[in-house]
Chain length 342, copies 2
């Protein structure tokens, strides 16, 4: 195994020298570009990146023999989504004897500038990013090294330029609201997520469509924006229950917001589902454990991460992949919904 | 950076050849041993391992320059402990610009044989294991390569031969029970974990000591063993509530068992804490989100993982470390406990 590696390193060295010669630069400049260093003039970097791209296959093989890694980059490891996504990547990585490297970086939209150097050093089989966007420079750095990357995007706002896996947020909002209407509810409140996240808007639009298809008016007082956390659900529900005509059911927009709704109901002396029905969204494990267990929209987070990792491996094998894969959501009926009392 | 690496590889190559020569074996045999392959006779492997150990410092440096990694190995990624432990390792790794590689392997007691080959190939800065025990052969393989390893052991059953970080389970059980006694409860039930886990027994002994120090008898009908999952808490609580003289408070042994206790109370038409007090254990995030929020024993999982990772880095720098570090637990009073009704 080690001997094979050494052979590849020999080949790798010849290639790097050739790259330097062809680009008319020193080996040290090629090395700087390879390591993602910033102190190389842009035209030089571009020339070297392109030459590296042409020789990518050989380096690829070597990296795979050393110790195959798949990178998973998050904005927020604390997110309730994180564990399910880690599981999904891990499931596929295990089948390919690859390790999974976790990184936490950046904002909800894009990773910070700090992570790319580590990735370029580790030369993974591929990178799964839980973000909406990637800076153009990072895309080029990964592409020139033949490191495939896929975005898993539970927020529903994908960069059209990057292969991504999401899920059907509009249909999920529609299904949640329809379930409440079919149970006999007419005054249905919604607490969706932040108004700058496409998935919030898609879930809200699904709610509106279900209401209007059933011939029900959408009372603007019953539409609130939250934060996708427990606090947002608690405060939204307190507000809705304080209305002159409170709703008999709430579509809480996320499981954490649904937990906040349960606590607001308890504090107000209301029993769920007898006095108030609550529907969550995501179907993370805590939805099964709450009291009562949550009726919720299953977002297939683990499967989304599995699909993204499979896509990476197909891209690596130069097989064609779809640019955008959207997995179906489905309603899971548990114990937090019932017909209204009256 | 790359040029420096190449220099180190030259040195590395000389060393491996020297090892082969000194051991009187071929370079290919040295390579097999390095990669953890099983097709080398035991005495030969031992000889090579010892020689490698003597030359470990140089290889160490090289690995650190390539792409520093810290390995985290779990039995069960689904465990509610997992996310907090990942966070802790990540926090320290980030400060040292190291990536974190996650592996899921083996049983609750020890990792399976499959993971070691990956670790030996990746040559990480160190390995954090969430297990009680390690096979002797694995310890030797890691030691001969100067890869330090530490066990994080929330189950409280550490291998005395390996540095480990745990927490004070007996004191936690004592604090939980004392809180209920001080609130005025006299009939207090306990659902501890499986009877083959030391942490279950330590928490139960803490309960017994608190009861006897308060001059209260421990009714054997009120002592149950669970599974540390929601189901165990649900079934145990149903059983306790079905007794001719049910308890007014339950120490549920884990947060998940406490969630099961809340659901059993709800199904029995009892309000928590008005009709029944419940105390959890662990203080994982879900304890704050439940309705009502759980009074629980805080097990500093994140800090335990941080300490374990710091220990690795100290071992790597050849600084002395304690063999067993036990962090304090502390009671967190929230809304699931109150004085008994009568």
């Amino acid at each position: 195994m080690l001997l094979t590696m050494r052979d590849d390193q020999e080949l790798g060295r010849i290639t790097l020298a050739q790259v330097a010669k062809k680009a008319g630069v020193s080996l040290s400049t090629v090395s700087k570009v390879l390591n993602g260093r910033q102190d190389v003039a842009a035209p030089t970097r571009l020339k070297v990146e392109r030459l590296l791209e042409a020789h990518a296959y050989r380096r690829t093989t070597r990296s795979a023999q050393e110790a195959p890694l798949i990178e998973l980059v998050f904005h927020e490891l604390d997110s309730i989504w994180a564990m399910e996504l880690i599981r999904g990547v891990q499931n596929v990585a295990k089948d390919h004897q690859a390790g999974v490297v976790l990184t936490e970086s950046g904002t909800r939209q894009a990773p910070g500038p700090d992570w790319i150097e580590g990735v370029l050093q580790r030369r993974p089989l591929g990178v799964v990013l839980v973000f909406s966007a990637l800076p153009a420079e990072v895309k080029q750095q990964l592409r020139s090294r033949s490191i495939p990357f896929v975005i898993v995007d539970p927020a529903g706002d994908p960069d059209p330029d990057v292969p991504s896996v999401g899920s059907a947020n509009w249909s999920g909002g529609l299904a949640a609201t329809r379930h409440l209407i079919e149970s006999g509810h007419r005054r249905i409140g919604i607490i969706t997520g932040p108004d700058d996240m496409l998935c919030s808007l898609a879930r809200l639009d699904g709610y509106r469509s279900a209401m209007s298809m059933a011939g029900l008016e959408t009372d603007p007082d019953l539409v609130l924006y939250g934060d996708f956390h427990v606090e947002g659900g608690y405060e939204g529900t307190r507000k809705l229950l304080g209305l002159p005509r409170p709703p008999t059911a709430i579509f809480a927009g996320s499981d954490l917001q649904a937990l906040g709704a349960l606590e607001a109901a308890r504090v107000s002396g209301l029993r769920v589902p007898h006095d108030l029905s609550v529907v969550g969204y995501d179907d993370v494990p805590v939805a099964r454990w709450s009291s009562p267990a949550l009726t919720t929209v299953h977002q297939p987070l683990r499967q989304m991460a599995e699909e993204a990792t499979q896509m990476l491996l197909r891209m690596r094998a130069q097989e064609p992949v779809t640019t955008r894969l959207e997995l179906a959501t489905s309603l899971v009926v548990r114990k937090s919904t019932a017909p209204p009392r009256d």
